[in-house]
Amino acid sequence: MDAPHYNLGIVRSFIHWSILWGVVAILVGILISFQLVNPDLNFPPYLTYGRLRPLHTNAGIFGWAIGSFFALYLYMVQRLCRRPLWSDGLARFQLYLFNFTIIVAAVTLLLGFTQSKEYHELEWPVDLLVVVLWVVFSVNILMTIFKRKEQQMYVSLWFMAASLIGVAVLYLVNSAAVPVSLFKSYSAYAGTNDANVQWWYGHNAVAMVLTAPPLAVFYYFLPKSTGVPIFSHRLSIVAFWSLIFMYLWTGAHHLLWTPVPDWVQTLAMAFSIMLIAPSWGSVVNGYLSMNGQWHQMRENYLVKFLILGITFYGLQTLQGPLQAVRSFSAFIHYTEWVPGHVHMGALGWVSLVLFAAFYYLAPRIYNRELYSIPLANLHFWLVLIGQLIYSVSLWIAGVQQAGMWHAISPDGSLTYSFMESLVEMYPYYWARAFSGLIYLAGVAIFVYNLAMTARRGKPLMPAAA
């Protein structure tokens, strides 16, 4: 049987570029973590914390995460549909447009062109570029699915297709604005409405960019790495539909105790708790797929990345709902706890799964064996330790900060001033900056390992590719 001629070149290109933007995200993250302990490291007007922090999040989410998902969707859709991409030319155009958009985004953010909405800072002309990019990408993926050679759509394809629609709806609604000039616009929504729309977007960007796509990757690459299929098809069906149904109700858990109507907050809280079930549906499915295969945790470095990744997803989807409960939110919201939570998802769950997928693909895109498995293991431990120091130190910091903010003396006065709470944060901020350096070291080894694979890896036999 003739194998279809899969386009691996475009996959390789997207992997390279997404890693580059990922390194940029980490470097900017480290810079701003040092700015928090030493304000002299701000260089106004362009390099201040206020302008660099959106650059950090945008490079991480749009450059590293979405860039990687471009690569992996373009790979998975070919394999799962048993046919080449619908259009190689469109995919090539998408690559150029992607990098152009990221560069324009970075430059405009440093120039201070921003809508100020979290994870949706880009001003309207850049928004338009993003929309074109997403349409080009979606058309190519969907047309490949429509013209597939494999009758049944595997679970990864469901998560992929749902995320294409979800992102489109979220991004278009939240970007509605009236332009004043080329790089300045005002939101179409005012005040409390604007906040509610924004966090409907913000939280579901987490669903459609940082949950569904890595789940698609996980459902594909875990069986590929272990050699045994996923535990339960039925469980993946239940988990998928309940996940994409429930997620959209939860945005207002970012707005507990604000002027958003109470019933919207209560619904968000209730659905956030309910979301534990579909989230853990995928986690349990992953774990049970390892039945009889747990020895691979020792023998197969890919499994280590994937299983730790899904474990952090499981922890993330317990901690998230906890934070969405009114009483706990009252205590912990606005503190350092929250960046600790976010980075467990970003560095632990999403990035570990992406690293695994890229290691799996390395021999296929370079036609060579991976240069060094020991280095891949060292990469694993460095990023794991870096991420744990980051999150754990900020959880402790957040609890302490919340405790100080809420402390009331017997005479009814506040026990601590705001500055007293900030001063207590500095040791934790040092720990965070240090943990970023450890994570960077891990990623540097990853990049080195891939580069050496491309140049010096043992060539594979042509048939094995």
Binding site: P39, F146, A190, G191, T192
Partner: protein, 292 residues
């Protein structure tokens, strides 16, 4: 093996997925528009931004101040004590976009207007550590070198349909971005007809000076003074943004009252949230005889 139809029919699948996404969207995102920013939300006295304030708000957005400062006070005891009245929906009807934020690396600013005099903000923006020594806020001195474009600001006012006088636009000539952001700071929270500065839930617990001739209390008062007062009144009470504090000029009860309750018209914030005992310690420090 039989599988559901949607697993083989991508168009059907896409339609079902879209429907699943839209249910929660409509209930929690679209429906609230029927309640929010309606007549029921309206608060008397909440006005749109004037041209200078709007220009300042855009500087706030451009510099990403919302990455470290929130603008919404929650109805929680400690929070109302620290920042003032909790936020209501009607206060934000003119805010496009909202700037509620999600992290408090610095304090909430929803009620900052009128808390400090303009001079405090000018100095704090230019060199934050000159007032708050261990602050990690970046210095924004460069805003003083940048002018406001009156014509561009007028266009913004038109897009937002905010009312303005021609003289207000003309008056922007010569104003800097620093003037604008300070004007914006002073607008925040001032439209609300309620007490904007933090007030104690109870009246002062200690009405009479409990620390007369108490050297330890004076020392503690000194530390409190350095943290809360020195930025404006000088490290050795010599004055600065605020007046010099010559010990002979005050009666202790009057001094207590001013520190505890503030002088809203004179730009002196209230320190009631510190509690009366600590305010008395500051009083005793300020009034302590000192040789120079």
């Amino acid at each position: 093996m039989s599988s559901p139809a949607w697993e083989n029919k991508p168009v059907l699948f896409l339609l079902l997925a879209t429907a699943a996404i839209l249910v929660g969207t409509i209930v929690t995102m679209v429906l609230p528009f029927a309640w929010v920013n309606t007549e029921a939300d309206r608060i008397e006295g909440v006005t749109p931004y004037n041209p200078l304030e709007l220009a300042g708000r855009d500087v706030y957005i451009r510099e990403g101040c919302n990455n470290c400062h929130t603008q919404t006070v929650r109805p929680l005891v400690a929070e109302v004590l620290r920042y003032g009245e909790y936020s209501r929906s009607g206060e934000f009807v003119h805010d496009r976009p909202h700037l509620w934020g999600s992290r408090r690396t610095g304090p909430d600013l929803a009620r900052i207007g009128g808390k400090y005099p303009d001079a405090w903000h000018y100095q704090h923006m230019a060199v934050p550590t000159s007032i708050v020594p261990r602050s990690n806020m970046p210095a924004y001195a460069f805003l003083s070198d940048r002018g406001i474009d009156p014509e561009y600001t007028r266009r913004k006012m038109d897009v937002l349909r905010f009312p303005y006088e021609v003289e207000q636009i003309a008056g922007l000539r010569g104003k800097t971005e620093m003037d604008a952001i300070v004007a914006y700071m002073q607008k925040l929270g001032r439209d609300l007809p309620v007490q904007r500065t933090a007030q104690p839930v109870t009246p002062p617990a200690i009405a009479e000076n409990p620390f007369r001739n108490d050297a330890a209390a004076v020392a503690e008062g000194g530390a409190l003074y350095a943290q809360h007062c020195a930025g404006c009144h000088g490290a050795s009470l010599e004055g600065g943004i605020g007046p010099a504090l010559s010990p002979s000029g005050f009666d202790e009860d009057m001094l207590f009252e001013v520190i505890y309750g503030g002088l809203p018209e004179g730009g002196m914030p209230a320190y009631a949230s510190l509690g009366s005992a600590r305010v008395w310690k500051m009083v005793n420090f300020i009034l302590a005889p000192r040789g120079i």
